[in-house]
Symmetry: C2
Subunit: 128 residues, 2 copies
């Protein structure tokens, strides 16, 4: 599951030289999953983190590892666009949080608009 | 539970005239919960949304209602600072997503830093 999301992130990051544009492409792709949320393939990683973070050490580590992989992809893209290591790591964590939170809100609202709104804010986030 | 978070958001928004500063105060307060995550009181609303969005219509509506209340508080603060209705609604959704996602990442990493990194990005988000 986490590999599917990782592959999707990598595909988008590789497809566009501009980091903002590439992350927006990923979010655009993600938002399309919400036309049929019961088939959505990436969500269970976040769900698993939420369910198990306070209970199972092993599963909590698996989630942390998946998040770290995604963050590493974002951070690599940002560093290649001239961001410092520290800034790239910080922004990547924030991107991951926005994506996870956007998925939860889109599920709760049964609407892809939270992910679309997040996508619109990516250029401001990357201008910092 | 959702009323506790709502009260915390309202307290911070009322305490500072500047929207960015007030949201950062809320996040600072939230991050302190992660010194002892098993006592964290707000998280179960997000968890509930994740667990039930695809299953229980009634619980999904309760989560949506809680999120909407929090978003309304943020949106009111932003409008009072001169944001248009549309912009205030969009940014409030993004804030909610960042907060939810930040909580999940902080739980997965057992570390308050994701919430701290999010807090640092609030001024850029509100400059848009």
């Amino acid at each position: 599951m986490s590999h599917y999301i990782r592959m999707k992130i990598k595909e988008s990051l590789d497809a566009y030289p501009d980091p903002a544009e590439s992350i927006q492409a990923f979010l655009q792709d993600l938002s399309r999953q919400f036309t049929c949320p019961e088939n959505f393939e990436g969500f269970p990683v976040g769900l698993l983190a939420a369910e198990t973070a306070l209970r199972s050490e092993k599963l909590q580590q698996a989630c942390q590892c998946a998040y770290q992989e995604w963050e590493n992809l974002f951070a690599g893209k940002l560093r290649s666009a001239g961001f410092s290591d520290e800034k790239a790591a910080e922004i990547s964590t924030v991107l991951n949080a926005m994506i996870e939170g956007g998925i939860i809100l889109s599920l709760a609202k049964k609407d892809k608009m939270p992910i679309i709104h997040i996508s619109k804010q990516i250029p401001s986030l990357l201008r910092t």
